[in-house]
């Protein structure tokens, strides 16, 4: 009954024929639905409730359909006799697409992987003392290793941290082992902005210290990270290197995820891409924070999530991350 009525509503091409439909169904005297409602009185009490409710629903629904149609006819000047009732091909009411930054996506994913390996998330200040940024990390200021950082100074003994490593120091000063932390944050170096350097850049520091942490565990953890982040087939390579606060130190490479280690421009044809610097914590660092270097061993690592995001998403120039061009950011919104 309702379907038939609604079809008539849709078919009504002008206000007059629409009014005729209203009278035919809802008119006080002849209306077919009105008749049903009038007839309720003659029904048994137990039937009355259900039928009444249904009839009332139908009446409400039909009234609305009539109003909508009247509205539509009024707006179109009543001239769309042949048009279908509702054009369902019209676009829906969209929402703006928002999203977190691609570097944030990478940071969160990395931290989540390390969370699964028993690491928590720590943080520390961006303006640091020279002691936290260098000396406590076994890096005397008059050593050439300190030069490589090209540090930005705020005062004679205050710097913008040149890496997130000072958070290692702050965390160890505040907590006893087991310490397993990842520290995403900004670091600053006096590198002019170019396609692969930003003077302010994200870094993720990692630190694991406990009784009995070894080089073998260090290698497994970072290789496992490589597999979880870049894919199960990813292989990891450790090359000797030098950082004043780790010994032995390593550069960590993973097989190039872009060419499957066959060699491409992203890996400069080598099949490997460098993703972090790492190593076993130097006992001199433990001495600075009051840990017993005979009892505790550990490892630390640092990586650049923007660089990793460049690899993952094929971003050719690091500056694109910091332009905040909506056409760039929207590609990472969902």
């Amino acid at each position: 009954m309702l379907a038939a009525a609604q079809a008539e509503v849709a078919a009504a091409g002008d206000a007059d024929s629409l009014e005729a439909v209203r009278v035919r169904w809802l008119g006080r005297k002849e209306g077919r639905l009105s008749a049903v409602l009038r007839a309720l009185g003659s029904l048994q009490a137990e039937q009355r409730g259900a039928v009444g409710a249904a009839a009332n629903r139908a009446k409400r629904s039909l009234s609305e359909a009539l109003d909508r149609r009247a509205d539509a006819l009024a707006r179109s000047g009543g001239a769309d006799r042949d048009a279908p009732a509702i054009d369902l091909t019209l676009p829906g009411r969209d929402q703006w697409r928002g999203g977190v930054h691609p570097v944030t996506i990478v940071i969160d994913e990395i931290c989540d992987i390390f969370r699964g390996l028993g690491f928590t998330r720590a943080r520390g200040p961006e303006a640091e003392t020279v002691w936290h940024n260098f000396e406590a990390l076994n890096t005397p200021l008059d050593h050439p290793a300190a030069d490589e950082h090209d540090t930005m100074y705020l005062g004679p003994c205050t710097v913008l941290r040149s890496h997130t490593s000072p958070v290692q120091i702050r965390t160890m000063q505040a907590h006893e082992p087991p310490v397993r932390i990842v520290v995403p944050g900004m670091a600053y170096r006096r590198d002019p902005f170019d396609a692969s350097h930003a003077p302010a850049f994200e870094q993720i520091e990692g630190l694991a210290v406990d009784d009995g942490v070894t080089f073998v565990e260090f290698k497994w953890t970072l290789a496992e990270f490589g597999r979880r982040f870049f894919g199960a087939d990813t292989r990891t390579r450790f090359r000797p290197s030098f950082f004043p606060f780790t010994e032995p130190s390593a550069e960590v490479d993973v097989t190039c995820m872009i060419c499957d280690a066959r060699g491409c421009s992203a890996c400069k044809g080598t099949g490997w891409v460098e993703i972090m610097g790492a190593g076993m914590v130097d006992p001199a660092v433990f001495e600075q924070v009051g840990y017993d270097p005979e009892r505790y061993t550990g490892y630390a690592f640092g990586m650049g999530p923007a660089r990793i995001a460049m690899l993952r998403y094929g971003v050719p120039d690091i500056r694109m991350f910091y332009d905040s061009d909506v056409r760039f950011l929207e590609q990472f919104a969902r």
């Binding site: 929402q95 703006w96 928002g98 930054h101 928590t120 087991p178 009995g212 073998v216 905040s324």
Partner: protein, 814 residues
Amino acid sequence: MNISYRWLRELAPGLAGDADEVAERLAALGAPADSKTAIGAALTDIRVARVLEAGRHPNADRLWLCAVDAGGGETLRVVCGAPNVRSGGYYPFAPVGAELPGGMKIRRAKIRGEVSEGMLCSARELELGHDHAGILELNGIYEPGVPFAEAAGLDDTRLELDVTADRPDLLSHLGVARELVGVDGVSLPAVPGFERAILDEVELDSGEAVAEAGGVRVEIEDPAACMRFLGAVVEGVRVAPSPAWLAMRLRAVGLRPINNVVDVTNYVTHELGRPMHAYDLDRLDGARIGVRWARRGERLVTLDGVERELEEGMLVIADAARAVGLAGVMGGEATEVGDDTANVLLELAHFDPKAVRATRRAAGLSTDASYRFERGVDPDEAERALRRALAMIRAVAGGRVHPRVADAHPTKPEPIEVAIRTARAERVLGVPLTTERLRELLEPIGLRLLGGDAAISTYRVPGHRRGDLVREVDLIEEVARHAGYDAFPEERRPTRPSAVPDAPLSVLEGRLRQRWAGRGFLEARTAAFAPEGQGDVELLNPLSSDESRLRRSLLPGLAGRVRYNQARGRRDVRLFEIGTAFAPAASGDHKPRETTRLAAVATGGVRPPHWGSETPDWDLWDARGFLDDMARALDLPARAVPRSEVEPRSDIEASLGGGLLEPDATFRLRTEDGFIAGVAGLVRAGAADAPPWSAPWVALEVILPGEPDLSDRRRLAPIPAHPAIERDLALIAPASSPASAVEGEIRKAASGLLVGLRLFDVYEGPGIQPGERSLAFRLRFQAADRTLTDAEVDAEVERVLDRLEEELDVRQRT
């Protein structure tokens, strides 16, 4: 550090593998090659040719017309201007079509009427040296037509090694060779034309701070700044371009040949890692040379032609009258060895790394020498390096080496001994080890076992590793490195999870990012640098004046990003950022105060346009709504109030908004304690600098708590069991009565039964007197324990209306 593969082979005859394999092994040892360059590549077109007959050019006195066999079976006619061309000689030859290293193409040419089918080349034309006096004659007999680079031993590979700061011993060919084949695998080859590797027949005149030799007095002022100074005199040298083998070697490592004496010092620096310097002895005042601290106001023109004013704290080499060089950095122009030099003083010294570093920094001049001194040179290599250089000078520049060499040696190195416990190495590396295994790995480095047992062994550290092998852990690293990192398994070991709790602010940041992203905002990341007007914390060494401060607010930077997008034609922009703002250090502290903040800017439509209805633009009331929403997100007992209702009590509170907001259209998020946690409002038209088609900009900035309490203390409130009754009140209020005052009076008048109050319409215009406006409120009444009666609600409304009339002259609209 540039390494020539051929040079390496010469020092380590047993070295296996080609340049690629060597580079791979060096990478596995921690010195990867950043680049590999084929040295002979520029000479691929050049062949060896034999001059069959050299006759006079018929039309020119100084030219020769030669019959040349360049392979290929035919005899070529070549015009040549070199005085040294002779019949039967072998020379590098560029046939027609060949390209010289400089890029010049050889064409068939007519020279004074005679056709020339190619060119016989000089060392300079092949960029192998300066010598342009004649063509380069090859000693020996060759098959005409063979590639010249191969025949002359020029097919070489340059490896540009990335040497870490702890390994100065790898800044020489000897050091790299030793790293690859062990101390016993390296040997110094004889100097060409000298038959021996070093000059033995000199004696050292050893003294403490003073020594003398060849009539020259050597003196060290500060034994802590200069540990040793060796000075040798060579008389009667002939300064000239270097022979091809020497020039080629230098070019192979990227150096420019200068003259034979200077080239020898550079050669030995790169071979043995001990920088040295040659002075024109006749230009040294008073036959004296020494090392001393510079005097204020002293001046020196260095070899690069720059006149420098010296400072105290710079270490200099000086003669009787003046400074003649920056110690360990660069020599002076006045005493430079040049073509007219006859007598040479050769200096080989050992300077304190810190003194060289200070000198280099003060001069702003980094050189091959300073780079090595700063990182540390091998004290045990001094004498041999000097004797090697003397042998080479004899071979390439002639002259007589004075038999006595001055050796001022006030500070002698203490021997270094380091013990390694086998169990400790196992504890760090995680694999079983034996003392024998350790010895096997450590001895090739040059460490000498002094004694020990199964638990501990003690080693003497060689001179070339004095800088980095001083502790047990340094030896453990050597064990890992020489065993090969790949040799260690990757094994999952039982671990304990972190005892450090998650930083609550990081958790909160994550939640806020999702909240703003879900609302259609895009996360921006901008740098914390700001121009002078936008920051209070100054950088001592900024990259540019636009970035000379650290931002006090996030908004100006973020607004700049909106402007960037509008400049690209984008009307609808919504950005947010979470980052750090900086305020000057509190008194007694050195570090600036940091606050983590969230900022957002929005302009354009609140939704994408839709055919079904008009889409409003973001406006002031969205800004206010954001602020209240942030209070909920931060679980802060705070609400947005007009700017004038609360004054900032600190510089950090005052910094909110970054001066971007229109004061009359700004809200502040006031906490219960009267603190300001954030601001929001309309961006001033001038501050936005927006194109004319731009919609209004709304912006927000909120300070996030440093240590937020994320504990969730919510308890469920009972869901009301009884229905609510709503009443709409249309009120006429004097325009001077703020909506908040009306709302406040309604709340005061009503009892606890009022559970909801919302202003849903504001109207001024026809039907309302000027100076008045209509405010429509929806009041919601409900009791927890019963269904309210109309009479109860009527009484409530009555009380509300009475109070409004009494207090604010507000009456019901009829």
